[in-house]
Amino acid sequence: MLNENANKGHREGHQTLLTKHPRRVPNILIVDDDVDSALNMDSMFRPLGCNVEIALDPNEAQRKISSGKADVIVLDWLLDTRTSADQVVARAIHLLEKFGTPHHLARIITFSSLNASEVKLPFSPYYVHADHWQKPLRRPELTRKTQSLLSTLGV
């Protein structure tokens, strides 16, 4: 009986700890003008318990990046025939600075068929360019990279 009560107390204490300090669910922003590519990426993160938002055009991307909520931004490099991702990020940073928006330090993953040396983001204290994922990526490789990325966030 004593043991049972002790265990119950332990479980309740543990539950209280979990309630008081819930693990924060990471916010993932996927920026891609190709809906099928975006949904594929969404299917990598969502089952792992992430909040996922998608931006399908440069304006939506700029608005969502400058909201400062994303922990990870997966950024397709060429958003349409005229706009590259570095331009979108530069505009979003300008908005963050202008309005002093509270924000997380976002990790940006660039995603493109270009190789890493061709992809340069503007410098900013608002994010780190954490990695470049070169297309095409087979699902097992994409899964490994996604899990590795989330482990750096403590997920």
């Binding site: 190709d34 809906v35 099928d36 590519s37 949904l39 594929n40 299917s43 990598m44 089952p47 025939t81 068929s113 297309k135 095409p136 990526l137 087979r138 699902r139 994409l142």
Partner: protein
């Protein structure tokens, strides 16, 4: 529903994407007349970009044949080779038709 699709040798759709397959194929089918119109007007840049996406997503969604046709079409559009573009668009139509039939057989659409 959909399990057979994931298990065939020809198709290898990841389980997490099974619910998206119908929409994915439908979007490719609706692109086809647009691509044909672009080919008629020598709008190769649009064809190249669309074919690039087809090549990238075909493999990701478990349709390697679609990816291969997309790569060929992208190369033909890049070379502005009207005849090859037409041939590859026919191939794309054929592959999409086969996939569609398989989706109907397996109850995915």
């Amino acid at each position: 529903m959909g399990k057979d699709l994931a298990c065939t040798e020809e198709y290898a759709v990841p389980a997490e994407l099974l619910h998206l397959i119908g929409g994915f194929i439908q979007r490719r089918e609706s692109e086809l007349p647009i691509l044909r119109a672009c080919a008629a007007q020598r709008g190769y840049a649009t064809i190249q970009r669309t074919a690039h996406n087809i090549a990238g997503n075909g493999g990701a969604y478990g349709f390697p044949q679609l990816s291969l046709v997309g790569k060929n079409l992208e190369a033909a559009a890049k070379a502005k080779d009207g005849h090859r573009v037409e041939v590859d668009l026919d191939a794309l139509e054929h592959v999409l038709q086969r996939i569609h039939e398989h989706l109907v057989e397996t109850g995915c659409v």
